[in-house]
Amino acid sequence: MLGISMAVRTFAAFALCAVLLTLVGCGQSSYTWGWYVVWPGTAQGQRNIGFLLTGLTNTITVSVTAILCSVTIGLIVGLLGIAKHRGARAFNRGYVEIVRAVPILVLVLWVYYGLPVLFESMGLNVNFDVFTSGVVALALSDSAFEAEIFRAGIQSIDRGQHEASDSMGLTYMDKMRFVILPQAIRRILPPLGNQFVYMLKMSSLVSVIGMTELTRRANELVVAEYRPLEIYTFLVLEYLALILVVSYLVRRLERWMGNPSERGR
């Protein structure tokens, strides 16, 4: 598969660059490299890598869950943005402007530490665990950007498509479902793929509230081994590998969604 070999080659190139850069630095300072801490050839390295990778499941599940939630919220908010109803459009504007303005890290902290207090003051006993807080914060934050992507994508569809659907007596839901959204999704996918990549990276911020994902694990290992350069470099490569997988999947999806009449061109 062309896509896979491309991804593997990109990854190898970056890994090589990282190693070369550090080797260049080698000769010029008295720093002694400690790659053994993450080297699969030694028992200690294997143990450490195993430890670092225990964060993988959490990084993936928190990102994927947040992506699914944010796409749903984003689509609804985006559709409100093109509604006839003035109140709906106002809600869209308000939501996008406010949510977009909050830094993700701040939102993570606010949801985890602030939201339960807010609920408590309303007499509700809701306790958000770390995972839920992370998903809520990431999904909210990203949904504002996705709402804009959806709105722009839908608005880019020619007015004639709406008029043809309307003139045949299709309901609004049918028009959206069968005519507008299938065309819009093809234009939306590339920027949406960007958001997926972004979301995966931003999941590292959830480490600050104690979720044991990749970044958290790396931090913990750095404290134990005191080898920040080597361990964080490994962390960089972990994210790179994940993101190349996402890019590959988005590209596959784009091709699969492409206009059937343009397939193979």
């Binding site: 043809a164 003139s167 045949m168 299709l170 309901t171 069968f178 065309q183 206009n259 059937p260 009449s261």
Partner: protein, 251 residues
């Protein structure tokens, strides 16, 4: 068509005014179209022809006056509007086919979703109309693979699949290359012979002579003249109509 139904008014526009901002696009339009009648609307560009025809299925809202189609008044009640739209087909200058759907899917979508027809039945209906517009062999293709003339014929078939009582044509041949105009007009002439009620905005005066029961001449948002084609072409009463005809028939 039954004899008693013939001649009965199916579109009635009374005192219709419409503004786009400060620009008045329609001024006191009165027009009655009877069942089975073919009305051809002509006039210079910007005269309000398209706006008027688009008011009939409420792609544009009128601001004043009454529009009654098939016994139902068009107003903000979307249920009425949707019901009317199912009885009124429309063919656009730019075809407006759905590019992501095959020709067959373009035709069967509305019968399935808006008429609740089963897929098999809808596809049989689609093939029937594709044969009528003489391109059944293109059923599996996508709009982008067809010529302009073929696309417009698919668009006509798509509207017919809803079995409408009225067909509206908004400059159906204006976006076509000259050699493709005839194939579309032929389909429309055939449709007219079958008794379809038609309102056609077009500059094709040969077509108008052939099928029109009535010519409607518009200028500056008004209906200036309405007459059978033989009268309209032979002795237009207004100076504006004379000028218009001299301009389009001179070459």
């Amino acid at each position: 068509m039954t004899v008693s139904a013939a001649g009965q008014a199916i579109i009635e526009m009374t005192g219709v005014n419409k503004w786009f901002g400060k620009f008045q696009a329609l001024k006191g339009i009165d027009l009655t179209v009877r069942l089975g009648q073919k009305v051809v609307v002509c006039g210079p560009s910007g005269s309000g022809k398209s706006t008027m025809i688009r008011c009939i299925n409420r792609l544009e809202n009128h601001d004043e006056g009454r529009i009654v189609v098939d016994g139902i008044e068009l107003n903000d009640d979307m249920k009425n509007v949707t019901a009317i739209r199912r009885e009124v087909g429309m063919v656009f200058q730019q075809f407006n086919l759905f590019p992501h759907l095959s020709v067959l899917q373009n035709l069967s979508l509305a019968p399935m979703r808006a008429r609740g027809m089963a897929r098999k039945e809808a596809e049989e209906l689609a093939m029937l109309y594709l044969e009528r517009v003489r391109i059944p062999e293109q059923a599996k293709k996508y709009p982008g693979q067809l010529s302009g003339g073929q696309q417009q014929r698919v668009a006509i078939a798509r509207s017919l699949c809803m079995r409408p009582k009225i067909m509206l044509f908004d400059e159906p041949t204006s976006a076509l290359d000259p050699e493709m105009i005839k194939e579309v007009l032929d389909v429309m002439i055939e449709l007219a012979r079958d008794g379809m009620t038609m309102v056609v905005v077009t500059h094709e005066m040969g077509f108008a002579r052939t099928v029109a029961d009535d010519m409607v001449f518009m200028d500056h948002g008004e209906i200036v003249e309405q007459a059978p084609p033989q009268d309209f072409f032979a002795n237009p009463r207004s100076d504006r109509a004379k000028l218009f005809l001299s301009q389009i028939l001179s070459h």
